[in-house]
Assembly symmetry: C2
Homo-oligomer: 213 residues x 2
């Protein structure tokens, strides 16, 4: 797989040493995420839409109701800037100037196309397996697929940015009698809570017990 | 405290029953967050900037280097749409149509003003205590404050959206022999990792050992 080529919109200007156009890295960052934040312009104003994201091959997909006006505006061809961000830790420096976050992020620019009706069931099943690996619910009905719009964005203009090098303090600060280090942060899944209306005798499935991101 | 008034930009159109203009709720959602995603328009194109966020009174603050071009564009008065999103759980339905996320989110619209030099140290100290409660590093130098730009956005046009009601399946699905429930998600802080260049004999401070969001 070849890496992405920087464009005018994706070239990392600030701290370029943290930037990357490595396709594998971009895919890993996206695949770990539940959410993306989609920015776009509507009637001259900026909008930002937090929504679930799934990558299939070199495209990412978001979806929602046909009645979602922001999604409809995106489906009509508004250019989008899509961010996916993981916060991996808090860097505690010897001064505030040495404090930072450890993070991995991806920003993609692109324009959506609507997934055609004949592909909707297949894509939604992949989206469900991405969000809930092992999910085994009943099949989606044609009427349910009909009220859902699925938007596909090609991953063409993409960059990643990673900070993972731990502390980086100002030269003289290393002599100070102060602690410095990284507090790691991670997303943890808790014990599944069964629906109160669950039929008796249905156990929590293994995919729910072992859920992780 | 009075609640926010919906405006044309913040009125919740999609699933209004999940929407809120409750000021306390908005503050709680912001205060729990490390990150926000700032969307804005630059040369007609949408941009999205993930960055740390701190609320002080009825304003939110973001900051970065003077050399950060996106921040500079925002400081020059570009309208911003700022999202703060917590993912609290994965809702596993009896069908894909009943799957969802439990979440709390805030979206604010506003225009930044630059924090003037005489207020920078005070604001940065509050930002540091917000990100790392109990932090006790050395005082910021005037030269460090001079290379930092701090942007303040008033919280005027704001809405919150919350989904926290657990499962909500299609009527007939409750008869199916399928599990349904919620898998809770939370952000957990791990054991602090001391800087390799730490002077000997400096213990991990309590604020780092007990860090949580």
């Amino acid at each position: 797989m070849t890496d992405y080529k920087p464009t005018e919109r994706t070239r990392i200007r600030r701290r370029p040493e943290r930037g990357s156009y490595d396709r594998d890295l971009v895919y890993r960052i996206i695949d770990e995420a539940l959410l993306c934040h989609v920015a776009f312009v509507l009637d001259g104003e900026p909008h930002v839409l937090p929504t679930t994201v799934t990558r299939i091959a070199n495209d990412i997909y978001i979806h929602g109701s046909n009645k979602n006006g922001l999604l409809t505006a995106l489906a009509q061809g508004a250019t989008a800037s899509i961010a996916i961000t993981h916060t991996d830790g808090v860097v505690v420096g010897r001064s505030g100037f040495g404090c930072s976050l450890e993070y991995r992020s991806v920003v993609a620019f692109g324009t959506a196309t609507l997934v055609p009706p004949e592909d909707k069931e297949r894509i939604m099943n992949e989206v469900l397996q991405d969000i809930i690996p092992g999910f085994g619910g009943r099949r989606l009905k044609p009427s349910e697929l009909a009220t859902t719009q699925i938007l596909k964005f090609p991953l063409d203009e993409v960059s990643a940015k990673v900070r993972n090098h731990g502390n980086s303090d100002v030269q003289g600060d290393y002599e100070l009698d102060l602690w410095a280090g990284v507090i790691p942060l991670s997303i943890v899944a808790g014990e599944p809570v069964s629906d109160q209306k669950l039929k008796t005798g249905i156990p929590v499935p293994e995919y729910a017990q072992t859920y992780h991101r």
